[in-house]
């Protein structure tokens, strides 16, 4: 991978840039703002420099096809796909976790029967991907990808291991907080979401330009799962809950 411009910035330089943007946001928008999505133009994340549109997005009323979403079903997803610890001869190394929650729309209605896909690094912070050069061991018993369909009440549940933090080349000695990537479909094309879920209390939050690209604190904190003891399984796995709320779309299939 080509080194991004600014590869030699220090963590201190990046943290100062993050703080300056946060302060400007506080000053102009107040403590609770409307900036609920990441800034596409976020200079501390160096790779965004040439990959963000400079024109504003053009507002449009969704057409019929955009008010609907692709359908997925039991033809697409095997129930075993939700267990990332399975499918190999042995158990993966790491802290076994149950990760569960609901997918809702902004009105609180469940998004039922829709596809969730996740991918993640292993416990040592290494992805099973040819571009990941982090010299941490691959785990022969962990691939790091899973899928499931939401239930009638919008619930999902994965069994996996807690991923480790890992280094990247945004700047010198840059580390990503531990996270799991989520890809989620709603009831409308307009609701498509790809995001990252983080773990509570991560010391890397303040240092990470991807997490901080959501400049509104309350919005950013919605990316953090919470530990939930009721989700744990005794002698087996700890539990985290993370609910996902999709923006846009006011209709459900039943109203079509």
């Amino acid at each position: 991978m080509k080194a991004a411009p600014g590869s030699f910035a220090s963590q201190g330089d990046i943290a100062a840039e993050i703080a300056a943007i946060a302060a400007e946001y506080q000053r102009t928008r107040g403590p609770v703002g409307q900036d609920v999505q990441p800034r596409l133009d976020y200079p501390p994340y160096r790779s965004s420099a040439l990959r963000h549109p400079k024109h504003p997005l053009v507002s449009v009323d969704p057409e019929e096809v955009e008010r609907c979403a692709p359908c997925f079903g039991h033809r697409d997803v095997d129930p075993l796909d939700a267990d990332l610890t399975a499918g190999h001869p042995g158990e993966p190394i790491g802290e076994r976790i149950i990760l569960a929650g609901r997918v809702l729309d902004e009105s609180g209605r469940p998004v039922a029967g829709q596809l969730i896909e996740i991918w993640q690094a292993n416990a040592g912070g290494r992805y099973r991907h040819h571009l990941d050069q982090h010299p941490a061991p691959l785990d022969p018993n962990f691939r790091g990808a899973g899928r499931c369909l939401t239930g009638p009440d919008g619930t999902y549940r994965f069994l996996t291991i807690k991923p480790g933090p890992y280094p990247w080349r945004n700047h010198r000695n840059a580390w990503r907080p531990a996270h799991i990537h989520f890809s989620v479909f709603g009831t409308a094309f307009t609701q498509r979401l790809v995001t990252q879920m983080y773990f509570p209390g991560d010391p890397l939050f303040d240092l990470d330009p991807i997490f901080q690209s959501v400049v509104d604190r309350a919005a950013r904190e919605r990316l953090i799962a919470r530990y939930e003891h009721d989700l744990t399984e005794p002698e087996y796995a700890t539990g985290y809950r993370w609910d996902i709320v999709l923006s846009g779309a006011r209709r459900t299939w039943t109203e079509l």
């Binding site: 997005l57 033809r75 571009l131 990537h181 997490f211």
Partner: protein
């Protein structure tokens, strides 16, 4: 009604290849389908370089303008048109789908492929439309509202080929030909 606060997006990152692409993801219909067409293009960054770690998703009606209600995109068995495809870009930033020409149930109509773009370095997904060049483009509310100089970024280029139609739709994340990307208004009908 209580409004819940939505979950922000984040970049798809560099490692989505281990989870999102799937076998026959780019083949919305089989190559042998009598109405098969090709939709392809390149995703460019602001320096005009192809983006090798982008992901393009396609969603569309069938040839008659019907919205698919068929599952099975992830494990295609040829039974039914699902309308959904997913293509990772190659080392040069190129993507491509085999599909059918989207129809429209309306007249006049400007049918389009609905497109979502993800990439490392792109902090949230982008939506756009790839209109067919021979649609009734002048009647379309979006095209009418877009600056004339940028309208062409929303329209496929028909490439000449013997037999099968080929549509090229390049996606410029930034730069002089920056693609028009969309923000959907809430659907409150």
């Amino acid at each position: 009604m209580t409004e819940l606060a939505c979950t922000p997006g984040q970049t798809v990152g560099p490692f989505f290849g281990l989870a999102l692409p799937y076998p026959r993801g780019t083949g919305v219909v089989d190559d042998a389908h009598p109405e098969a067409v090709r939709l392809h293009g390149t995703v460019y960054d602001g320096a005009g370089q192809g983006v090798p770690d982008a992901l393009v998703e396609l969603w569309q009606p069938d040839g008659a303008g019907r919205i698919p209600r068929v599952s099975g995109s992830l494990r295609r068995d040829g039974a039914g048109f699902t309308g959904f495809g997913r293509a990772a870009t190659d080392a040069d930033g190129c993507y491509g789908f085999t599909t059918v020409t989207p129809g429209s149930a309306r007249t006049p109509a400007a049918p389009f492929f609905a497109i979502t773009v993800f990439a490392r370095g792109l902090l949230n997904r982008l939506f756009t439309r790839a209109y067919l060049p021979d649609g009734d483009l002048d009647t379309d509310p979006l095209l009418a509202s877009v600056d004339a100089g940028r309208r062409a970024t929303l329209v496929c280029v028909a490439e000449s080929a013997s037999g099968r139609p080929i549509y090229r739709f390049d996606i410029h994340l930034q730069g002089p030909n920056e693609t028009v990307f969309l923000a959907y208004r809430d659907d409150r009908r």
